[in-house]
């Protein structure tokens, strides 16, 4: 964790060291400009103070070359930092396909996390070192924000939709998790811990959770319980889209658009089915808005994701 006078918090992810380098470059560039201005202000103030006897022969009160140089040169230097910042930013949202998803549901005023294998935690997130993680997050009420200073990552967590951010922890330890979007009375104490462990320890920790069903298995039960299999199951007489391998597939909609089915798409299809009707199907699916809690939705989505994979490879 941070000590008393240290500015940088612990740097515990690949993104963190990159960000610190960018920050250092930005500091050097802005520092140079600030120092330049401040030094000139002081030097001119001293040298040209009223009582001093120095050369004051009139100088021109405008100079096009000077104006353009001190505009264009800093601009080009800063644009380099813009590009660097943009590249690093984009990488936070382009998770590799084998990134490990961790599901978070935020509410006033706690963090609820769930791993693929069904192990849940409150106000803590355990992660393995060296493995890229993709947070899939939503809120039950107001906007929160998932902030881990040690990883230099932050992502607002919104009600009604999923937001996502990817990073790779690279140092074991325990780090602060803060809520960074004002969310009411106990915003300041909506604090948690991120625990980064060796992969073997993490695997052990996951298994310790008792014999709870994995998210996909739970989702399979919910899929039946909520009646989804009645229309979308194999033997159904209702003409409903096949959900096998849906996640990541390109879907053609009735209004002519084609979208890639991701978690938000599946969630919307369950809660607001009239919004994106699949081409060739009648809009007869009922809405489940208000009936399925967020954790159950995530589990159902995990189940649907796994229908596209070999089941055993995903057991963790």
């Amino acid at each position: 964790m941070t000590d008393l006078f240290s500015v940088s918090p612990a740097s515990a992810a690949a993104s963190a060291s990159r960000l610190d380098s960018l920050a250092l470059c930005m500091l050097l560039l802005t520092g140079a400009v600030a120092l330049g201005v401040l030094v000139l202000l002081v030097v001119f103030s001293v040298r040209y103070r009223a009582a001093s006897h120095v050369d004051r022969t009139p100088s021109p009160s405008s100079n096009l070359t000077l104006e353009i140089s001190w505009t264009v040169i800093p601009l080009l230097l800063f644009l380099v930092l813009y590009v660097w910042g943009a590249i690093d930013y984009v990488s936070l949202y382009r998770a590799p396909p084998d990134a490990m998803p961790v599901f978070v549901v935020a509410k006033q005023w706690m963090w609820k996390a769930e791993h693929r294998n069904g192990r849940r935690e409150i106000n803590e997130v355990h992660l393995p070192v060296g493995r890229t993680v993709r947070m899939v997050m939503t809120s039950q009420d107001v906007i929160h924000s998932f902030f881990v200073p040690a990883f230099r990552i932050k992502q607002d967590v919104l009600p009604g939709r999923y937001t996502s951010i990817a990073f790779t922890p690279d140092k074991e330890g325990v780090y602060h998790l803060f809520c960074a979007e004002f969310c009411g009375t106990d915003h300041a104490v909506m604090e948690g811990r991120v625990v980064v462990m060796k992969p073997a320890d993490f695997a052990g920790w996951l298994a310790e959770g008792g014999h709870v069903p994995g998210m996909a298995a739970r989702g399979h039960d919910l899929f039946r319980q909520y009646g989804c299999s009645g229309c979308h199951g194999a033997g159904s007489s209702v003409h409903a889209p096949d959900l096998t391998g849906l996640l990541g597939r390109r879907v053609h909609l009735a209004d002519g658009r084609a979208v890639t089915a991701d978690e938000p798409y599946v969630r919307d299809s369950i809660l607001v089915p009239a919004k994106d009707v699949v081409a060739g199907y009648a809009p007869i699916m009922p809405s489940f808005a208000g009936q399925i809690p967020e954790e159950d939705l995530l589990a159902i989505i995990e189940y649907i994701r796994e229908t596209g994979h070999d089941q055993s490879a995903e057991r963790r």
Partner: protein, 225 residues
């Protein structure tokens, strides 16, 4: 009287000449109208958003509007602008009595518009089309369409409400200036042609806003039956 009144009042103390005063007044009204566009702007932006995201719901909701009354109102407002323009011409020809009558006619047409609009709102309210917990159109098929229709009606009431607010101010201003034109000659500090022109500018702006609102709110989903 109907006499020509060519004695012009001196400019207000902050202005050097009457021309400067007229120029400032006119420019001021244009700046004000620019800011008004930014009031209607976010609502129209919201309309654009709703119409692109809920095209069918918007069409369906628009069919609930009283388009006969809306069309009559459009005709009323256009006529009122004509009357206002004639009033401006009358002032320039120094025919104050004629101008006063035309201004009165403009205001009365504006009041007629408000009365009809009020009747429309009343109808829509009794049909449960006012957004909120009581929103219940008789033909909403599913939650998604219902939501789109509710957003349409939110914008409908917000836009027509904001327009009516502006029209009310316009009617009040028109009646006030009609009274001044009728009773006070310009030499005694009564309104002159510049003042009538300013009120006219405002009135035409309010009319123009309606000319945009009418097709956006009433005519969606009605073309082609």
């Amino acid at each position: 009287m109907n006499g020509t009144d060519t004695v012009k009042a001196p400019p207000a103390p902050q202005f050097a000449t009457r021309e400067q005063q007229a120029q400032a007044g006119s420019f001021g009204m244009w700046v004000f109208i620019a800011s008004e566009l930014l009031f209607f702007g976010p609502l129209l932006f919201g309309y654009l958003y709703v119409r692109t995201h809920f095209p069918d719901a918007v069409a369906q909701a628009s069919r609930h509007t009283e388009y006969v009354l809306g069309t009559v109102n459009t005709a009323i407002l256009l006529t009122s602008s004509y009357a206002m323009a004639l009033a401006g011409a009358a002032m320039r020809a120094s025919r104050r009595r004629r101008a006063a009558w035309l201004l009165l006619a403009t205001a009365l047409l504006g009041l007629a518009f408000m009365a009809i609009k009020g009747w429309e709102w009343h109808t829509e309210f009794t049909e449960h089309l006012f957004p909120g917990v009581g929103f219940r159109p008789d033909d909403a098929k599913d939650a998604w369409t219902l939501h789109g229709m509710e957003l349409f009606f939110l914008l409908y009431f917000a836009l027509t409400g904001l327009h009516a607010l502006h029209l009310t101010v316009g009617v009040a201003a028109t009646l006030t200036i009609a009274n001044g034109v009728r009773r006070q000659p310009e030499s005694a500090g009564g309104p002159g042609e510049e003042a009538v022109e300013l009120v006219g500018l405002y009135w035409h702006f309010v009319d123009l806003v309606w000319v945009f609102l009418y097709p956006l709110l009433y005519l969606v989903g009605r073309a082609g039956g």
